[in-house]
């Protein structure tokens, strides 16, 4: 299944060429004053700012760490609450009837509009950033998990019923594994919205974090540095997203041949060990 390195590199090259062309065009456009250099920084200027932030002055790391912490903690809280409420709603019909209207109202309310209130409640520090990240990452996780848990295949439900499975067996052996793929889709969305929440809360009121840094640069009309910070946010988003993707691939192994081969081998070894063990005991 694996392609040779050369081949994979070959498929990568057109992308690099295209990107290079765009950057060169952009550079030329600014150099020739087709666009205002003040408003649209040259790619080389952005690169210089990048180097300054990351290498020479190294100012970015503290802010990077702060915002990442806010996003990750916010996500963790949003995910815990979202999954817990979804499980409770899936297991208990009454609970769902009383909770889901509020979840829906929360969803149709623009989450970011809560920013001033959340800052009033949680203060100027990291707490309000985590809270906003949690609030807006909650909903996609809740909705996806709930629909994953409740929409299991009717034929399989009938199978479990005919085999006399009890509610807890049905939950753990059927509903949870069936819900995993869609739950993870929700977690991936939640991860990126958590980052949005953290940055927006920083815009509103904060002393540190990439949001603050970006605001500071744009107030100074230092567009090159602003764009460098924006790229930093992209890096954060991609990092968080791929962390989830990695976990997703690991856990939902049955979507890929390589995953099934890995788990199949492990299972085979375990069954062999189990049988060998029982023979020794006997």
């Amino acid at each position: 299944m694996k392609y040779p390195v050369i081949y994979r590199l070959g498929r990568f090259i057109p992308h690099m060429v295209l990107l290079a062309l765009v950057l060169v065009f952009w550079e030329v456009a600014v150099a020739r004053s087709w666009v205002n250099a003040f408003m649209v920084p040259r790619p080389t200027a952005v690169f210089d700012s990048f180097i300054r932030l990351y290498v020479t002055e190294q100012t970015i790391y503290r802010h990077f760490a702060i915002t990442m912490t806010e996003a990750v903690f916010g996500f963790a809280i949003g995910a815990s609450v979202g999954i817990s409420l979804a499980v409770a709603s899936a297991v208990n019909e009454t609970f769902r009837r009383y909770v889901s209207p509020y979840a829906i109202v929360l969803n149709v309310t623009p989450g970011l509009a809560l920013t001033p209130i959340i800052i009033a409640w949680f203060g100027f520090g990291i707490g309000s950033k985590i809270a906003l990240a949690a609030v807006i990452s909650f909903f996609p996780i809740f909705v996806n998990t709930l629909s994953g848990l409740t929409n299991s295949d009717p034929d399989r439900n009938e199978l479990f019923r005919s085999l006399g499975a009890n509610a807890s067996q049905r939950f753990w052996k059927l509903q949870v594994p069936s819900a995993l793929p869609i739950t993870f889709a929700g977690l991936k969305i939640g991860m990126t919205t958590a980052l949005i929440g953290a940055v927006v809360a920083e815009f509103a009121q904060a002393t540190e974090g990439v949001g603050v840094l970006m605001q500071r640069f744009s107030f100074q009309l230092n567009m090159a540095s602003s764009v460098a910070v924006l790229l930093t946010m992209s890096i954060m988003g991609v990092t968080l997203y791929y962390a989830m993707e990695l976990l997703d691939d690991r856990l939902i192994f049955w979507r890929k041949d390589s995953g099934m081969a890995r788990v199949g081998r492990r299972r085979s070894a375990r069954v062999r060990a189990l049988k060998a063990g029982s023979v020794v005991k006997a």
Binding site: D153, D155, R156, E158, L159, F160, R161, S162, L163, G164, A165, Q169, K173, L174, P177, F253, W254, D257, M260, V263, G264, R265, R267, S268, V271, L274, K275, G277, S278, V279
Partner: protein, 268 residues
């Protein structure tokens, strides 16, 4: 009469229990929507130990409904229905069900899918693993023990489902068009294997299909059902000796029986 002697021949070990009625329905009916839609009019039938009975008829004749009532998955609206002498009140462990779709759990290996019924009723022992592997070998999948469902063809998935059905230990097997979604060749091949396997384990089998030839070829007795409203129109005995081969389907006697069943269905 012939049906009985066939059943006798196949499960000689249980001779003293021969002729036992394991499933008995008297006026078994099902209506939906406060009785406005009749899915099945009162049906009377008896199925003996070790018999292979086909339920044949077009869509809407109530054959799947009848099967699900026997399985205890849906309640009947009228009549009496007993399995092993007990009135059917819900699913029971000595009745196993297999569907048109394999309904395997795709996160489990073939082996773990076969083990599922046992896992749901008690703690697994290493004997269970051996038994599950034997059953996989019985359906010809000994080399696919640790393969996942999505890596298996449709026919192989149904083989796993059949092995899982046998792992339940049920002595009554209810099969709802089990090979209906497969191509003709695979289906024919699996039907032959199914006959061999149920004869091996001596199970009583209820097999739903809409294919008349298949119904007759497999069964000791064919329950012919007609739609609107669903009705058990006639029970036809199949006199052919076992073991049967695919060539049986080319004989005039076989085709005469097909014509007879078709005539019953043709009236509707």
């Amino acid at each position: 009469m012939n049906a009985m002697s066939n059943a006798n021949a196949r499960s000689g070990a249980h001779t003293q229990q021969q002729g036992d009625i394991v499933i008995k329905g008297e006026g078994v009916g099902k209506t939906f929507g406060n009785g406005s839609v009749v899915a099945l009019e009162g049906a009377d039938f008896e199925i003996k130990r070790g018999e292979f009975v086909s339920l044949v008829g077009p869509s809407g004749c109530g054959k799947s409904t009848l099967l699900r009532m026997v399985a205890g998955l849906i309640e009947r609206s009228s009549g009496k229905l007993a399995v092993h002498g007990d009135t059917v009140k819900g699913p029971r462990s000595d009745v196993g069900l297999m569907f048109q779709r394999a309904t395997l759990l795709e996160w489990r290996t073939a082996l773990d899918n076969v083990l599922l019924p046992t896992e749901l009723s008690r703690k697994l022992t290493s004997a269970d693993y051996d038994h599950a592997e034997e059953l996989l070998a019985m359906v010809g999948l000994q080399d696919f023990t640790f393969t996942f469902p999505s890596q298996l063809s449709g026919g192989m998935q149904q083989r796993v489902a059949l092995a899982r059905l046998l792992k339940t230990g049920a002595d009554i097997l209810l099969l709802d068009e089990p090979f209906g979604a497969l191509d003709e060749f695979t289906r024919e091949h699996l039907n032959l294997e199914l006959m061999r396997i149920v004869a091996d384990v001596g199970a009583t089998t209820l097999f739903v299909t809409h294919n008349i030839g298949e119904a007759i070829f497999l069964a000791d007795k064919v329950m012919v059902m007609t739609p609107r409203p669903g009705r058990l129109a006639r029970i036809v005995d199949v006199p052919f000796e076992r073991p049967r081969t695919a060539e049986l389907q080319l004989t005039p006697e076989f085709n005469a029986l097909v014509a007879e069943v078709r005539a019953v269905l043709g009236d509707h």
